[in-house]
Amino acid sequence: MPTITFEQPNGTATDVEVAEGGNIMRAAVANNIAGIVGECGGQAMCATCHVYVNPEDAAGLPEPSEDEDEMLDCTTAERTEHSRLGCQVSLGGALQSIRVAVPSDQV
């Protein structure tokens, strides 16, 4: 099963397994990962599922859609070139593992 590693601002990391096709936000909420809110239920409307993708893993990801890109301007913590909305990044296929950092602020 695909695995997501969530790294907290204090350095602790948690591995979470997800079903094929599962997205980062859902996996985080289902596994009680602190700091990922997902207020809009995964519709790219709230930007409270912001994560920083590990630069080495970013290469395997499809580009953000226009909606995701524009909503990334709504994040509470600083947006960087590695920012993504967790609800818009699904795992599966060639992408079997990813490491993401959880921002210090989400709302």
Partner: protein, 405 residues
């Protein structure tokens, strides 16, 4: 910090409050009670992904072990039936009594029920709970034609999602404009066109008169027409759940009346979310949105943890109407003037609402960038004028160094 806090209602507001109380260091007991039998879940997908069958399962608000990990006692299938404010106790439907130091109403709202003759037929469905949605989806599976009563957010979201599944949809709306209580006239007109272009038969100024429940449902409209349907879905507004609060002697009027700190007239009792009619900038507002529920809960958690906080977050809202994403930031009034940003013909545009020459709200269709910028600008409380909007995009204004107001 060691007080016992009892929250009635485990929806978006109640669950967020319980979580935020722990985050803010509350150490006493937290009890969350809800009449629903399931784990607390997200409502917005119920009229969107859930209908279009893209999302097979309800989306829980938090993981199952969240409640035990956070030492939150979650009682599901438990209805609060009486509150005794003098004794500081709440009675539950199974006869149990619970005492509290602080009590919070997060009871939400319920659907206004369609009450015309024939509305009791099981194929006539309102959409509020997961049970409603499951029932609806089951019935929708074999359906070819639906009639929707009410062109508010939920009715239109559902009609668009059903249409996208190839189901014929007729929407009857007794008011002359769709979304008439929530959006500007221009936006309302644009959505009327857009939904009609997508094949929804949208009838304005035409309400449901009666339903003749035969093998098919025959919906008679106030315009004297008859519409055939396999099922009828209604979204004709909600009523805040205030009866319990009212019976305990708390002041209610279109919601439980609370001050800007979300406190009722009883200093130990509070209300948040859809059920709360809160004081804001000298007026009263009762909002029905996830943002309002969650942010009021966060604000109240700070107050309850010893940091008195007045609720003032910028309201924002979203809706998914078929192919179109609508986002609203700020609070408009019918008397506000409006200014178009972008080209509605392109399907991507925003409408800025101004009061006394100053930006108060932005409605965006398929233009998340405008919404993102509007949220920033409104939160900063900057004075944005029509001239400024004519000269620069919202994003440029948001990225400019704020000038002191």
């Amino acid at each position: 910090m060691n007080e016992s806090i009892l929250i009635i209602g485990a929806g978006h507001a109640g669950v967020q409050l319980a979580e935020s109380l722990r985050e803010n260091g509350h150490d006493g007991t937290i009890t969350l009670i809800d009449q629903g039998a399931q784990q607390p879940y997200q409502r917005p997908p119920l009229s969107k992904d859930f209908v279009s069958a893209q999302e097979p399962e309800a989306l829980p608000l938090r993981s199952e072990d969240f409640y035990t990990q956070q030492r939150i006692e979650l009682l599901t299938g438990a209805r609060a039936t009486a509150v005794d404010r003098a004794a500081r106790t709440v009675t539950l439907s199974d006869g149990q009594q619970r005492s509290y130091d602080r009590l919070v109403f997060a009871t939400g709202a319920r659907n206004r029920v369609l009450s015309c003759p024939g509305a009791q037929d099981p194929r006539v469905i309102g959409l509020r709970t997961l049970q409603d949605a499951e029932n609806l989806r089951r019935q929708l599976d074999g359906a070819q034609r639906v009639v929707v009563a009410g062109a508010g957010f939920i009715g239109l979201e559902f009609a668009a999602a059903a249409r996208a599944r190839g189901i014929e949809a007729t929407v009857l709306h007794s008011a002359p404009r769709v979304l008439n209580r929530s959006v500007s006239r221009q936006l309302s007109d644009w959505f009327t066109q857009a939904h009609r272009a997508d094949g929804i038969d949208l009838r304005l100024g035409e309400g449901v008169q009666s339903i003749d429940a035969q093998e098919d449902l025959l919906v008679q409209s106030t315009a004297g027409e008859s519409h055939r349907a396999d099922l009828v879905v209604y979204g004709i507004g909600v009523l805040p759940n205030v009866e319990l609060a009212e019976a305990s002697g708390l002041a209610c009027e279109n919601g439980i009346l609370v001050d800007a700190a979300l406190r009722t007239s009883d200093e130990r009792v509070y209300a948040v979310g859809d059920c709360a009619n809160a004081e804001r900038d000298g007026t009263r507002v009762r909002l029905e949105s996830v943002q309002n529920a969650a942010d009021q809960a966060r604000s109240l958690a700070r107050t309850l943890c010893g940091e008195p906080t007045l609720y003032s977050d910028v309201p924002w809202f979203w809706s998914i109407q078929g192919r179109h994403r609508l986002q609203i930031a700020g609070l408009a009034q019918p008397t506000d003037s409006s200014m178009l940003l972008g080209d509605p013909g392109s399907g991507k545009f925003s409408i800025a609402l101004l009061r006394d020459g100053q930006l108060v709200a932005v409605e965006s269709v398929n233009r998340a960038a405008d919404h993102a910028a509007a949220r920033k600008l409104l939160a900063r409380g900057e004075r944005i004028t029509e001239a400024m909007l004519a000269g620069a995009s919202l994003k440029e204004l948001a990225n400019a160094t704020p000038v002191a107001a």
